[in-house]
Symmetry: C2
Subunit: 103 residues, 2 copies
DNA sequence: CCGTCGTACTTCACTTTTGGAAGTATCAGG
DNA sequence: CCTGATACTTCCAAAAGTGAAGTACGACGG
């Protein structure tokens, strides 16, 4: 398995990088992520479990049955990749800009 | 749809970025990609069609029924993202480095 | 103590995507 | 016309994703 393959095995699944992107803005609760991303609650639970197992994020217990999800160092290290992909995606929307200095 | 979402819509599907990665080394033929990636021929054909439709790659006719797939400017612009993800993936393989100064 | 509310999931039935094997199309060479 | 190489297409079963509904748990009001 190549390095890229290993990375995609962890964050390449549907919603994986989108969840990480949201968490780059700071810790979020389950309901926040669900409403923000528009992802089904079962998918979200599955992805969060996988990403936690992979050491990308961790659960922070808040009050009783409430908790927050926050990126670990490993998860924060994905910022470069997320930014690079986001810039590329933004450039596509413009209609064909090969040079995009906007960030 | 966010910029990241738009990007993942194009190259976020299984094998999408892996194909782009191979093509970053230069144009490749169908059979090369298939053997190199170990992807099923149906998946490969489907992804190549989608990526071509998205303007990420183009077909270069070679001899009779042989052709090569090459990245367009748009496809080449994905190099940053691929490299960022590859680096992240490589850091994970080390075994648990929260601080990765490698590379 | 009991019913209700909010938050975090789990379960189920259904659709879409993926993966593997086998078949088709096209052209060159003999 | 038959064989071989290359590039796909088609078919079917398995895996993954989706949406709706249900469960678990603790706080809160009566």
């Amino acid at each position: 398995m190549s390095d890229l393959g290993a990375a995609l095995d962890i964050v390449g699944a549907r919603w994986g990088l989108l969840i990480v992107e949201r968490l780059l803005d700071g810790p979020q609760r389950y309901g926040d992520l669900q409403r923000d991303l528009g992802v089904g609650t079962n998918m979200l639970a599955t992805r969060l479990r996988e990403l936690e197992a992979a050491g990308v994020l961790s659960r922070l217990p808040l009050r009783h049955n409430t908790r927050a999800y926050a990126l670990t160092e490993r998860g924060l290290a994905l910022r470069e990749a997320v930014v690079a992909l986001r810039r590329w995606g933004a450039a596509q929307g413009v209609g064909g800009a090969q040079d995009g200095q906007a960030l």
